[in-house]
Amino acid sequence: MSTITTHSTSGAARSKLKGPGVFSYSIMLALAFYAAAPLVVLFLNSLKSTEEASTNSFGLPQSVNWSNYIDAWRIGGFSTTLLNSTILVALSVAGVLVVSFLAAYGLARYTPRGHDFFLTYLLVGSTIPVQLYLIPLFVFLTRNELMDNLFVLSVLYVAKFAPFATFLLRAFLLGISSDFEDAARVDGASEFQVLRKIVVPLLAPAIMTVGLVTGLQVWNEFTLAVTLIQSEELKPVSTSLFAFQQRHGTDWGLTNAGAVITVLPVIILFLLLQRRFIEGLTQGGSKG
């Protein structure tokens, strides 16, 4: 059961002890500097020419080279890789939502026999490190010509990220009374209709949160992607930047621009929807 508390009434804020003074604010500013300054440096440097980026590392750019972005876009093949990542996210999130919604509903509402076993199975499955199954997966996919396949990778992502989503959705569901569903059944609705017309709308905020969180995890996932997608045309953004860096390592204007291109969609989305992102992850986190 989770409650989303609003912030201004937190106990600590009401604590009436002396409010945060200069010292506390200095700490916060220092931490904020640590968090934000590197990103600012990245952005400023993406606008410098490579020579300037090597000599004037931390100042403002003397000349603004938007051409770095154009070059990075072209050389890094970002139109391809951003599309690949988007495809991966779309497929994976769709898969995760469908699979985990069904499973969460089944677990929360029906408590079938073996329910505890299933929960444990999911818990164990979600804590197995990728390294333990990476090699056999790699061998199997290679021998069956399933390497370099975004669809296959999405299926793997569903397996990897659905357990967490299931736990989250299940927790939400447990907190919602099943009265409405029962009422609908009494009114003659089929199971499918109950799901579609009652449960989904009720669960909509949770579903959206899960979608966002999973999407973020898929967008940033590196290990599986770097091992299982080898060909240039299919690389997602998380690994193409890595390859880009390897090839153009010291062309700083270029590589920094590439990094900004990689990170901008996510940051924009995050700023727009930051409440959902943060709440979703913290809910999953604090539930363990």
């Binding site: 912030h7 106990g11 600590a12 804020a13 009401r14 604590s15 002890l17 002396k18 945060p20 506390s24 700490i27 931490l31 968090a35 590197p38 990103l39 990245l42 699979v99 069904l102 499973a103 029906y110 079938p112 199975y121 999911l122 804590t127 197995i128 490190p129 390294q131 333990l132 199954y133 990476l134 997966l137 790699f138 061998v139 397996a159 990897k160 659905a162 199971e191 973020l216 940033n220 590196f222 091992t227 953004v237 998380s238 860096q245 010291t250 700083w252 590589t255 920094n256 990094a259 990689t262 990170v263 996510v266 940051i267 995050f270 700023l271 930051q274 943060i278 913290t282 986190g285 604090s286």
Partner: protein, 288 residues
Amino acid sequence: MKRRFLPYLLIAPLLLIELLAIILPSILNVGYAFTDWNGLGEPVFTGLDNLRTLVSDRVFWISIKHNVQWTIFFLTVPIAMALIGATIASRLGRRQMLFRIIFFVPYVVAPAVNAEIWRYILNPQTGIGAVLERNFGWEWANIAFFSNSDWVLWSIANVDNWHWWGFLLVLYLSAMQSIPPELFDAARVDGANRRQEFLHVILPGIRPTLVYTLVLSMTASFLIFDYVWILTEGGPAHASEVLGSFMYKQAFYRYNVGYASAIALGMTALAAAFSLTFPVLRKRGWDI
């Protein structure tokens, strides 16, 4: 009739995907660990040979040492930063929102981008050390952070720390805001100062979350791969070698699939052992 099978049907897709994509390959990996194989042709059963070689392989022990050092770092630095930040933020009322967002942004950034940012900032020709040396003559400041054996592991840890601590902060902040305000009132009535408030109200109040993050940090520290791989591939001279990079190189560069599987098994065993300490200790009545 249908109702009895329905829950199983609902759960089936998730369980099936888990089984095929993760559980089965993991079991296979255990099998490969006892063979000698280069990926082409058939594996040859060699029993405990791999484990024997592993135990006498100095790189294995160097890797474990680094994983342990990493664990110690991650059990302290990011958690301390996050606790301090969260405690102060919780007293700020509405103003904390801006800080929360700034602190969290690095968490949504992909590993390759984080690596790029810090690789630039800490580069011996263009980074902050070089700037200090050039402008102030401070030669001691210009350390090759990702090549110097003494600094490399900590430099990589810093990159992961920068990415991770904001997430912890948001987690702790959420937990703090769920502490019943009455506890704060009671402390105030008893004349507690801020330090006592922190130790006796806040820390115990967020204990479950705190414990969760400790366990998470411990297990994850044995599984690290992304940042080490992107920044140094475990070099130079194994100065930043961890179990993850060691395994990866054996599997995908040296084609020692059997040996790599043995390493993966070792990693999992260590991570699992650490993650189990907490529930086991708690069962024995440790108040953690």
